[in-house]
């Protein structure tokens, strides 16, 4: 599950998930909620990213979605598949092209968190909007 936490100017996203891979699925769902629906052609985007640790992988993941939304008008809908390594992620993302409805300028490192708890995984990231 994900939820938006109150922040004066930006958007703070908190995620709880059963597995580390699910954290990325929840982040995608949250991003999809921001950019809305699209009714253009259905497409599948392949995403491959690398980073030093899981928290930075989450930043790269959202950065990639911002880039695709802004340059290709890609509005994601769901995760078709995801493979997650210690410092890499490979995913296929289903969606449509259209006019993403909400601009996200960037993914900050402020209060960035990605950790395993006794009962699952928890992540937090603040987006500049």
């Amino acid at each position: 599950v994900f939820r938006w936490v109150e922040h004066t100017a930006e958007l703070e996203l908190e995620i709880e998930a059963a597995s580390s891979a699910d954290v990325f699925a929840e982040a995608l769902a949250a991003f999809a909620e921001l950019v809305g629906k699209a009714d253009g052609p259905a497409i599948e985007e392949e995403i491959f990213i690398k980073a030093d640790d899981a928290a930075m992988l989450l930043v790269e993941w959202l950065d990639e979605l911002i880039y695709l939304a802004e340059t290709e008008g890609f509005v994601p809908e769901g995760l078709a598949s995801v493979d997650l390594g210690k410092d890499w992620l490979h995913a296929m993302v289903d969606g449509h092209t259209g006019q993403p409805s909400h601009l996200v300028k960037g993914v900050t490192l402020h209060r960035l968190e990605f950790r395993q708890l006794d009962d699952g995984w928890r992540a937090r990231v603040v987006l500049d909007v």
Binding site: A9, V35, D63, G73, P100, L103, T108, H110, D128
Partner: protein, 470 residues
């Protein structure tokens, strides 16, 4: 409030001894009421975090419109001593050279009369707004390259350049320091407004406070003006993302440990610091070019609705940046002044401001929230004495976007604004609600504080008569 020391009625200090990691004090420009509001979010902690930056001098400063950001608060000013003081991309922000440009039309509201609504609609057609892919003209790679190096000068000569901060071109810009991904995000976005709190507003001069400065700026009672608020769009956002990550990875090498990763920084003289400053300057040049293309589109709209003579007589008053880092000299020291949600406000006599304004001080524009007044200010000597030549940049958010939407719907707000006689064009009711006036502090109080503190003084009050929102 007990740990804050009252330096004056409008200036408060948290001494450097407040925390073991602070290198300098943290100071806040505010009266007691604004200070109470400022203490309601995380901005005081954030300005103390800024006070830990290596090389920071004198104090980390918060303007009266300060509010919680990430890393730096929005409304923060920090100066580091060159060459080895740090540069922090987060201290400039994602929207590099977000700023405001004011145009003055050669007519009064009464003379504009019934053409007001058509003009607002024509401006909304001429200036693409909203998120994601936009309808800005696609630019060739060579044209983007030239804009990154030279700013609006690359788009052709214009009298506006002389009335733009830094002549619309920051020295040291290097297009090669801007990633391909940043260029891709910026391609097609030149001349577009973006979303969030960006806007183009048609206004009327409601009150002149300082006749001499208003005359120098070419402003008079009841005159129609256009205020443009936009920045470097996706290109600048990507430059910030690229370099925050790069510096996050490099900090350990420089022995830098900070309380917030988003403050990621490197010595300005280091390879990472130099590369960021070159890319930031290029993104700032892109932003000035963006506002230039928007201004040209507004002039064309004026031409179509009011006439060519009015378009030719639409003069730029000035253009100021409020998210940027600049090299400036204070007391013989060369400093890198980070202004994140703060505006340069040089006083009369400064060589850095246009000759026509040199006797009255640099113009500063403070946009209010949608539907409320904006202010034209002039830089005062106190800005140099107390705030590295800086003043505030806006009203400052009070409520989160979600909080604003709980208080008012976009449709209600649209009706309310129209009831006040303001023509509204916005692609999204949701976006409209997020920027509702109740989400912001009282801009008049913010402006009163910077005036009492001696940072800048009021020259004119502008009230909205039409809003085109991003």
């Amino acid at each position: 409030m007990s740990e804050l020391i009252e330096l004056s009625e409008v200036l408060w200090e948290l001494p450097a001894s407040t925390r073991s990691d602070m290198r300098v004090p943290a100071r806040v420009f505010a009266d007691r009421e604004l200070l109470a509001a400022i203490q309601g979010d995380g901005s005081l902690e954030q300005i103390q975090n800024v006070a830990t930056l290596p090389g920071i001098v004198e104090a980390a400063l918060a303007m009266p419109d300060v509010h919680q950001g990430y890393g730096f608060p929005v409304g923060g000013v920090a100066a580091t001593e060159l060459p080895d003081g740090v540069v922090s991309p987060g201290g400039v922000g994602y929207d590099i050279n977000c700023g405001v440009r004011l145009l003055a039309l050669p007519l009064t509201e009464a003379e504009l009369a019934r053409r007001r609504e058509p003009l607002v609609h024509e401006i909304s057609r001429a200036v693409p707004a909203g998120a994601g892919k936009t309808k800005g003209r696609a630019r060739r790679g060579a044209e983007i390259e030239a804009v990154l190096q030279e700013g609006p000068r690359a788009l052709g000569g214009s009298d506006d350049l002389a009335r733009t901060e830094s002549g619309g071109c920051l020295p040291g810009a290097d297009a090669a320091a801007v990633s391909d991904r940043a260029r891709e995000r910026g391609a097609g976005q030149l001349g577009t407004m973006g979303s969030g709190n960006h806007f183009v507003e048609l206004q009327r001069v409601a009150h002149v406070f300082d006749d001499a400065a208003a005359e120098a700026y070419g402003l008079r009672d009841d005159q129609v003006t256009v205020l443009i608020h936009s920045g470097s769009r996706g290109l600048g956002h990507q430059v910030c993302s690229d370099y925050v990550k790069q510096m996050d990875g490099a900090m350990r090498r420089y022995g830098i440990d900070l309380p917030d990763r988003q403050l990621a920084c490197a010595p300005a003289s280091s390879p990472e610091g130099s590369a960021y400053l070159a890319a930031m300057a290029a993104a700032a040049n892109f932003a000035w070019a963006n506002r230039q293309v928007i201004a040209d589109a507004v002039r064309s709209a004026v031409g179509r609705v009011v006439g060519d003579e009015s378009a030719r007589g639409t003069r730029q008053v000035y253009d100021v940046a409020h998210n940027v880092a600049k090299v400036e000299r204070y007391d013989g020291r060369e400093l890198l002044v980070h202004r994140k949600g703060a505006t340069r406000a040089f006083p009369a006599g400064s060589d850095e401001i246009p000759e026509a304004y040199r006797e009255v001080g640099q113009p500063v524009f403070i946009p209010g929230s949608m539907g409320t007044s904006s202010f034209v200010l002039a830089g005062e000597p106190g800005s140099v004495e107390l705030a590295f030549g800086s003043t505030c940049h806006g009203a400052g958010r009070r409520l989160s976007r979600t909080g604003a939407k709980k208080e008012v719907s976009g449709a209600e707000l649209r009706r309310e604004l129209e009831g006040l006689g303001i023509v509204v064009r916005s692609p999204s009711n949701k976006g409209l609600a997020e920027e509702a006036p109740l989400a912001y502090k009282d801009v008049e109080r913010v402006v009163e504080i910077v005036e009492r503190a001696g940072l800048s003084r009021r020259v004119a009050q502008l009230v909205p008569i039409g809003v085109v929102k991003g």
